[in-house]
Amino acid sequence: MTEGTKKPFSVREIRNEFPALRQLVYGKNLIYFDNGATSQKPQVVLDAINRYYSKDNANIHRGVHFMSQKATTEFEEARIIIQKYLNARTREEVIFTKGTTDGINLVANSFGELLSAGDEIIITAMEHHSNIVPWQMLCQRKNLTLRVAPINKKGELIIEEFDKLLNSKTKLVAVTHISNTLGTINPVKELAQKAHAVGAKILVDGAQSIQHMPIDVIDMDCDFFVFSGHKVFGPTGIGVLYGKETLLDRMPPYQGGGDMISKVTFERTTYNELPFKFEAGTPHIAGGICLGEAIKFLSGLDIVAIQKHEKELADYAQDLLDTFEDMTIIGEAKKKTSVVSFSMEGVHPFDIGTLLDKQGIAVRTGHHCTQPLMDFFGIPGTVRASFAFYNTREEVDTFIAAVEKSINMLR
């Protein structure tokens, strides 16, 4: 879709597309500030789910009949929609997965097979457990070394320290694009250049970025980019691994089974070509088609205006929270977006979260699957408000009043 066809962004109009936002929770208007965990779904995605199972449901790729061919076409069209949105070179570079975690595990297991003892992998101190544990498991299995690039107290990657970890043994840098806990935006393009300079590959965890900013894998020059459908207004259980075709070609299959084979005999099996080599078994067909629908929806929006709106919400919320006594904002990177995490002296995040819930406000509390990061800040967890484009300034006002009320009750 060209820029000219995009409607000007209006938060009031866009909210109408999301039926889940129009409900009462404990008698209060729902305020959904847990978008970092998952996003709500627009009507077009809900309609697509209904349409698929009502009319098009069939197994794909091998069927001779009408419905199977229709489902196959739609599934493969979704792949192309996603390819174009990411600016990937070919559709072969777009692998459907279960989600971000699945994509990272695929790379750890398959790309990991190309690594040998003594090789090194670099992650950062702000990674989600999903971008820590698969590498730890790989390092243990193949006798590799995992290095962790440190962050400063603002929650920014310390680039000089990252540089010190890079060397000729580095084979992979696995880094989050945006921290789910801190909202920090990492300079992934710069990191990709640095990684490539020593001959290493880079995986970018896009679970928290694709819904908030334009993604261009060619410009970023990442080797892998992973994301989850459900965080980008699509269904759960579906996600995408983008990989450079030359690299994916060299990598062995991850799982064996149907669809990923070319010819099977008991003596030897040859594998299917990309992208099917990495898609064993019947895929999440409805998920893929409806993720395509979600990405189509997103590409019809003015992402620059969305970025601005979300940043304004986060800044507004952070400024207001900052006026509370004994309040610490966790994550004050210069480049951050969409997330405000906070912790308050003498008040447990779980207590605030419970009371906010009873006031109709959905937030996340706890360690956000980033326990090492919580240890770094010396706190048990935070309260995290994470925004999407359908959130409003008025909702932030209500949220702030509810936080104040909760704190007064707890102290």
Binding site: T365, G381, M409, L410
Partner: protein, 141 residues
């Protein structure tokens, strides 16, 4: 008072609150009043796993009756465990082990009982009952 009578008493206490925030205000007050566990007993082995907040629970049997003390760094969790302790303290291990703690449902706190719920109420209930069961087994004739 029997376990059942104490549960009924709590249900009546909560009956007057029709608003969730008032209900939680009461739970928070209970949390503030919870008899504190002896600080030396706040050890790793008394920590209940699976809670977003940290909860320590100690169980003793004095004169054949269960005596629980607990603490948590989250006040709502403390309030809820305070309710459990109010129901189960001074009861025989056999009665505690087999107690049907229906009051949790009746006062609308069942959401806290789901197995993956962050405050681990289910783990707390299990731990309270296991302590009683363990004593019963060890002291069988």
């Amino acid at each position: 008072m029997t376990i059942e009578q104490k549960q009924q008493e709590i249900i009546e206490d909560f009956d007057i609150y029709d608003d969730w925030m008032n209900k939680y205000e009461y739970i928070i007050e209970l949390g503030k009043d919870l008899p504190m566990i002896d600080p030396t007993k706040k050890t790793e082995d008394r920590l209940i796993p699976g809670c977003q907040s940290r909860v320590w629970l100690d169980a003793e049997v004095v004169d054949g009756k269960m005596q629980f003390t607990a603490d948590s760094d989250a006040i709502i969790t403390k309030g809820i465990i305070g309710l459990l302790i109010r129901v189960l303290n001074n009861e025989s291990p056999a009665d505690v082990a087999t107690a049907d703690l229906h009051f949790i449902n009746d006062i609308g706190l069942q959401e806290h009982l789901s197995p993956t719920r962050a405050n681990g109420l289910l783990s707390m209930v299990n731990k309270l009952k296991m302590a009683a069961l363990k004593w019963s087994m060890e002291n069988k004739d």
